[in-house]
Every structure is written in C-alpha cells, then in structure tokens.
C-alpha cells in the first residue's frame, strides 16, 4: 500500500498556478525527497498533503484514506519556517501541540519528558521558549513533529539551524522511525542528503513534475558519464572544458560531465601529456545536484 497518493492535484492562487496536475505515489516506509527550486510549489504541495489548504481539484489519499481531520492526526510536520509560542514553557507547549494531534495529556507529558531527555534539554522543560537558544528551540520544534509518533512524517529543511552533532541526533531519530516503518517526506535543497537518505524523489518546478521515481534508477538512466578527478599536485592550467558540457570544481576535486562523443581515456592521455599527476580518476553517475540543475535549466529554456 502507498502511504500517500496524489492524483491530478492542482492549486492556483489568483490565476497563478502553484501546483498543476501533480501525481505522486509514495511507498509506505520509504524516504521520499521532494525537490525543486525556490517557489516551485513544494510548500503548497506539502500544505495540501497536511490539509492546511485544499486543492482546487484532484484527490489526496493518506494510507489509503481520503484526508480528514483524523488522518491529519497521523501526520507529523516540521515546517521550514520554524515558530512556536515563545511565551509558553517548553513542556506545556509540547503537551498542547501533542493534544492537538490527539494525544492524552498524561501520555503527551510522558513522551515530552522522554524526548526532552533524549535531546538533553530536560533541564529547560519548565522554562519559556524565549529563554532558550535558537538551537534548543529547533530541538523543541522537531520534538513537536514526532511527539505523537506519526506514521507519516513531513520534514521541510530539517537540518537547518542545527550544529553537526544535532544533525546527527536528528538523523538518528529519522532512521529509527524509518526502521519502525514510518514514511518520511523530506524537502530540502541539500542534494547530498537526499542522495544519502532518499529512496525515491520528485523534482517539481513551476508546479509541474520534471522528474519522478526511484533515485537509483534515475541516476542509472544518466549512466556513468561523469569523471571525478582528484589532483595530486598542481593542476597547472589543465583544461577540462574542451571535454565536458559542465565542470564543477571543489578545490582539489573536479567533476566533469563528458560530451557524448568523448572517450574518458582521452582525458587521461591529455593529463599524462601535460605531465599532471592525478591522485584519483573515477567514472561516476552524475551527482543529483547536476541532474537538478540540468532538468530545471532545460525546463526554463
């Protein structure tokens, strides 16, 4: 069964189409990446899944059931724009938000305590949010999304505002929930995270689906047409542009998408001819970031 199904979902604001004819199938227990440039319609899509706004047409089914208030209780949400009642104390706030998701007060209290201990802010549980640091507020916000242990968890840029230690903590929670069968929808601009975590993705722009499906398959379809070169010493004006359609430079590492007619061996020969020493020479699938840029650029053209 699919955790989430969108059929021909369309939403327009004052004649401007935010989402048009979106079809999605998200398998249960998967981690799904919803990608797209700013203003592509991602937030509108997420809001429709959460029933914050209603689509103009099309249907949305969560766990096979049409969206109702009870279904809403089975979704957890971490919005990109974080916000909480700053004048409320941490624990009562979590109990209130848990209550809105259908948790009993005693149960919400018990869980809130556990989570606050796990994220090492139990000492702050009776303090007002405005007294907490930004990082601690982010933790509270994340706890609010998972407190009711939802079978569907929607995370919009979950790692922003966290230091590397807390990123790891949040990621661990996500993986634990994933192991227990939680379906996770991840919306982010950080492609390396999508590549590491997601099973399948959907790329949207201007409200339209550009790409959709299993991440491995998508990458495989592009083939190993990219070379990743790590220079051992100086690169001494070694020019890759004549071999490649695009070049990404990261200091000592360079990634180049080869022109279709180029044989990778030619690059190696050229390097030897120019007396340039390489630490690594590798043929890889294109990084998701490149696919993203290519697809979006093509759609705009």
């Amino acid at each position: 069964m699919n955790a989430l199904e969108l059929d021909k979902v369309t939403k327009a604001y004052d004649g401007l189409t935010a989402v048009s004819n979106l079809n999605l199938r998200i398998a249960q227990s998967s981690i799904f990446g919803l990608l797209g440039p700013n203003g592509a319609g991602k937030t509108t899509t997420l809001r429709m899944i959460l029933r914050i706004i209603l689509p103009d047409s099309g249907t949305i089914r969560v766990m096979g059931a049409p969206l109702t208030e009870t279904v809403q209780d089975r979704i957890g949400y971490l919005p990109e724009e974080r916000g909480l009642y700053t004048r409320m104390a941490v624990r009562p706030l979590l109990v209130f938000l848990g209550g809105l998701k259908g948790l009993k007060e005693s149960e919400a209290n018990r869980r809130a305590k556990q989570w606050l201990e796990r994220f090492e802010i139990a000492a702050w549980s009776e303090r007002k949010l405005e007294e907490l640091s930004k990082g601690m507020q982010q933790k509270v916000q994340f706890i609010a999304a998972v407190l009711h242990d939802p079978p569907l968890l929607i995370l919009d840029e979950p790692f922003t505002g966290f230091d590397p230690m807390n990123v790891a903590a949040v990621k661990n929670v996500m993986m634990e929930m994933h192991d227990r069968g939680t379906t996770i929808i991840l919306s982010t601009h950080r492609m390396e995270q999508v590549e590491m975590m997601c099973d399948s993705i959907c790329l949207v722009d201007h409200g339209k689906q550009l790409l959709d499906g299993d991440l491995r398959e998508i990458k495989r379809a592009y083939g190993k047409n990219t070379v990743r070169i790590e220079f051992a010493g100086t690169r001494n004006g070694f020019d890759l542009a004549r071999f490649a359609t695009s070049v990404n430079r990261y200091g000592t590492v360079v990634e180049a998408r080869l022109r279709p007619e180029i044989d990778p061996q030619e690059i190696l020969k050229a390097a030897v001819a120019q007396n340039i020493s390489l630490a690594r020479f590798e043929l890889v699938e294109p990084p998701l970031a490149d696919i993203f840029v290519e697809k979006v650029t093509a759609a705009h053209a």
Binding site: D14, R47, L50, R51, I52, I53, L54, D56, E69, Q72, D73, I75, Y77, P79, E81, R82, G83, L84, Y85, T86, R87, M88, F96, L97, G99, L100, K101, G102, A144
Partner: protein, 425 residues
C-alpha cells in the same frame, strides 16, 4: 470539539496568568474608586482640624449670630470646625484692627478672619482673609454661617426674632424620580452615573479584548506557529477557540468586578460614607435585569467586534498593517461612545431608536437606553436579533478571510483582495 476545547483552554490560561490581567483586574476598580473618593477624602482630611478665626463686625449685631452659626459647624470626625478667638464689633480703628489680624494670620496664630462690612445688611458680600483660600469645605461652612448671620441681622431690623434660623433656612432638595414600567424608584442622578459607567466599561472592553484578539492572531501568524496549528486543527475551531478564550477572560474579569462591587456596596458603604462626610453619598442602583442585558449585549458586541479584529489580524503581516487596517473598526467603537450624547438628550427619539438598532452601536447604545428609560421589549429584542444575526454573518466572513489570510505574507491586502479571499473555495 476536543481540539476546540484545548485551544480555548490554552488561550484562557495564558491570559489569566499574565501580569496585565492581574493588574487591570485589580487596578482598574481601584483607579475608578480613587478618582471618585480620593478628592473627597483629602478634602475632609484637610479640614479635619479645628480652625481658629476672628470675626470683625463693622455692621453691628452680627457677631453673636455668626458665632453661634459657626459653632454649629462640625468636621467629619465630629469636632467643632471653628474656634472663635475674638469678635470685634465696630472696631475703633478699622484699618489697624485689620492689620493686626493680618499679622496674626501670617504668623499662623489665626486660621483667618471673617469681616462683615458696614453695608452687608443692605446687600454685598462678607470677606474671609486666609492664607489658604483653596479649602472649599471650609469656605462652604463659612458661607452658610455668614448667610445665616446676615439674614438674622436683616430679620432683626424688621423686628422679627427667630430662635431656629437654621431650620428656617434649610434648603428644599428636589428628588428626581425615574418613572418606568417596572415601578418607581427614588433616584439622585445615579441613573446617569450607572449609564456612563456601563458605557465606559463596554467601550473599553470591546476595544481592549477586540484588539487583544487581533494581536494574538497576528503574533501566531508572524511567529509562524500558525502553520503547525493548521496542520492539526481546522481554521474555524482555531479562530472560534481564540475568540471564545479571549472572551472568557473578559467575562472572568467582569465576574470578579461584579462580585467585588457587590461586596463593596453592601459592606463598604458605611466605611466610605465615614470619610466622605456625606458629600458624595450616592449608592448605585444596579438591578439584576440590567446586569443580564448587559452581559447579553456585551457578548453580542464582543463576538461582532472580535471577529472583525480577528480578520484584520489574519490579513495583516505586520503591526503597522494591522494598525492601519483596524482604524475603521476602532472608529465604529469610538463613534458609539460619542453617540452617547444623542441618547442622553432623548433616549426615546427616532434618532436614538434607529441608532440603537445598528449592530455596531447597539451593544453600547441599547444598554444606555435600557439604563436611562424603559424601551419597549420589542425594540430591545429586535436590536439584539440584528446584533446576533450580524455577528454570525461577520464571524462567517472573518473565518473565510482568516483561513486564507494567516498563510499570506507580504504586502497589506486591499479590500478587493479581501473580498476575493472570501470567495476562495
């Protein structure tokens, strides 16, 4: 329903616990009481002691009359107000006497001296010389004593001897009696006091709690928690919970005031009259039926205005936006306050009846009419019906603006845009 209850409970608890609530609940009645009673209290305290005075009688024969009249005047604590140090009849050297007495006043030996000029019996005024002319209680007592003395002197000229001058000169008070279908009640202008007081309370609380609702919604919007809330609750229970929660806080405040007021009126009246020397001895006539109408009209008005303010809070993205957008609504509340005078002049005129039917004014103006006279029941019910119907309509429209507005950030929407939001599916 469960979620609605949670929203109401949170809103209520958060507000009742704030310092603003405690301060305004305790502070406002104290402030009102202070404004009413402190001047009287200080006035009576000020003239509390006995004042030594001298009487200079250039007309002749007025000294004993003045002395006995002055001797009857008592302070709030029952002590004689005046001690007559000396009475000088027909002074040999008028200017020297005056100069000596002035020196004594300046030296603090005398509180002042009362001078009756020679022609005072033919008309004209007596004079009181003192360092502190602002003491009105003292001046009033002197004036009544001087009047008695001079009238006594004039009567003596006509060979009329009167033993009890004070009784003869007693004023005849005119009690204004309100005639109403509910039976007659003797009143002393207190109807007006009650009307103004109720008007002020309604006016302040409609504004205060309305704007509170607006700010609270704007805060949820700008802190972005609205997104979390809307992912758990539908917009309508969220809006309704907010309005009911804030309204319940206002209601609580009224209950506290009413209970406190009842205690003060029944047990504190004696205490108050003790130090206000009877000068502000009014008691409020505040029947139960009026209290009932007051609550009903407050609720109607509150729901009408709070949902208007709520729509503004949802449409605005910043405090400045909100402040600009709320001007027309606040003007309506302020207008009903200024329309007070129309009702007071004639609560039964066509203008008064018409105005008390308009839902934006009726919460304040109908209560005013109910206090001042007895409008026919059908008028009260019609006005209430119009108020309730408009409140329901406004709540419906506001909810539609709210659900779109809370997710819209950026520039202030125009009226056309607001109308379009209402029509969104």
């Amino acid at each position: 329903m469960h979620k609605l209850r949670l929203v109401i409970a949170r809103e209520y608890k958060m507000r009742v616990r704030t310092r603003t609530f405690v301060l305004s609940t305790v502070g406002l009645p104290l402030l009102m009481a202070a404004m009413l009673f402190l001047p009287a209290y200080f006035a009576s305290r000020h003239s509390g002691g006995t004042v030594s005075i001298a009487v200079v009688d250039e007309a002749g024969g007025l000294g004993p009359l003045a002395s006995s009249a002055l001797a009857r005047s008592r302070t709030a604590t029952g002590d004689p107000r005046f001690k007559i140090v000396s009475t000088i009849e027909h002074p040999a050297n008028s200017s020297r006497t005056v100069e000596e007495l002035t020196q004594q006043v300046l030296a603090g030996k005398l509180g002042g001296y009362l001078e009756f000029p020679a022609k005072v019996l033919d008309g004209g005024s007596a004079r009181f010389y003192t360092r502190n002319p602002g003491n009105l209680t003292l001046t009033n007592a002197l004036e009544s004593a001087a009047t008695q003395a001079v009238i006594g002197g004039r009567l003596a000229r006509h060979k009329v001897e009167v033993a009890d001058l004070k009784g003869l000169l007693a004023r005849v008070p005119v009690d204004v009696v309100k005639v109403s279908a509910r039976g007659d009640a003797k009143e002393k202008g207190q109807t007006l006091y009650v009307a103004i007081m109720l008007g002020i309370i309604l006016y302040t609380s409609l504004l205060f709690y309305g704007i509170n609702t607006m700010r609270s919604i704007l805060e949820e919007k700008s802190s972005r928690i609205i997104e979390i809330l809307l992912s758990s609750v539908r917009p309508f229970p969220l809006l309704a919970g907010k309005i009911i929660g804030v309204g319940a806080v206002g209601f609580t405040q009224y209950l506290i005031w009413a209970t406190g007021g009842a205690i003060v009126v029944s047990y504190g009246a004696m205490m108050l009259s003790a130090f206000s020397a009877g000068s502000v001895g009014f008691h409020f006539h505040f029947p139960l039926w009026l209290w009932g109408w007051f609550i009903i009209f407050f609720l109607g008005g509150y729901f009408l205005y709070a949902s208007l303010y709520a729509a503004i809070g949802a449409a605005a993205s910043s405090d400045q936006d909100a402040n600009q957008l709320q001007v027309p609504i606040t003007s309506l509340v302020v207008a009903s306050f200024f329309l007070f005078t129309v009702i007071m002049r004639n609560p039964d005129s066509t203008a008064s009846v018409t105005l008390s039917m308009i839902p934006f004014f009726s919460p304040i103006l109908m209560i005013l009419r109910l206090t001042l006279e007895s409008p026919p029941l059908w008028q009260v019910l019609l006005s209430l019906g119009i108020l309730v119907a408009s409140a329901v309509g406004v709540i419906y429209l506001s909810a539609r603006i709210y659900r779109v507005g809370v997710l819209m950030y950026g520039k202030r929407p125009s009226l056309v845009e607001l109308a379009r939001w209402i029509r969104y599916s």
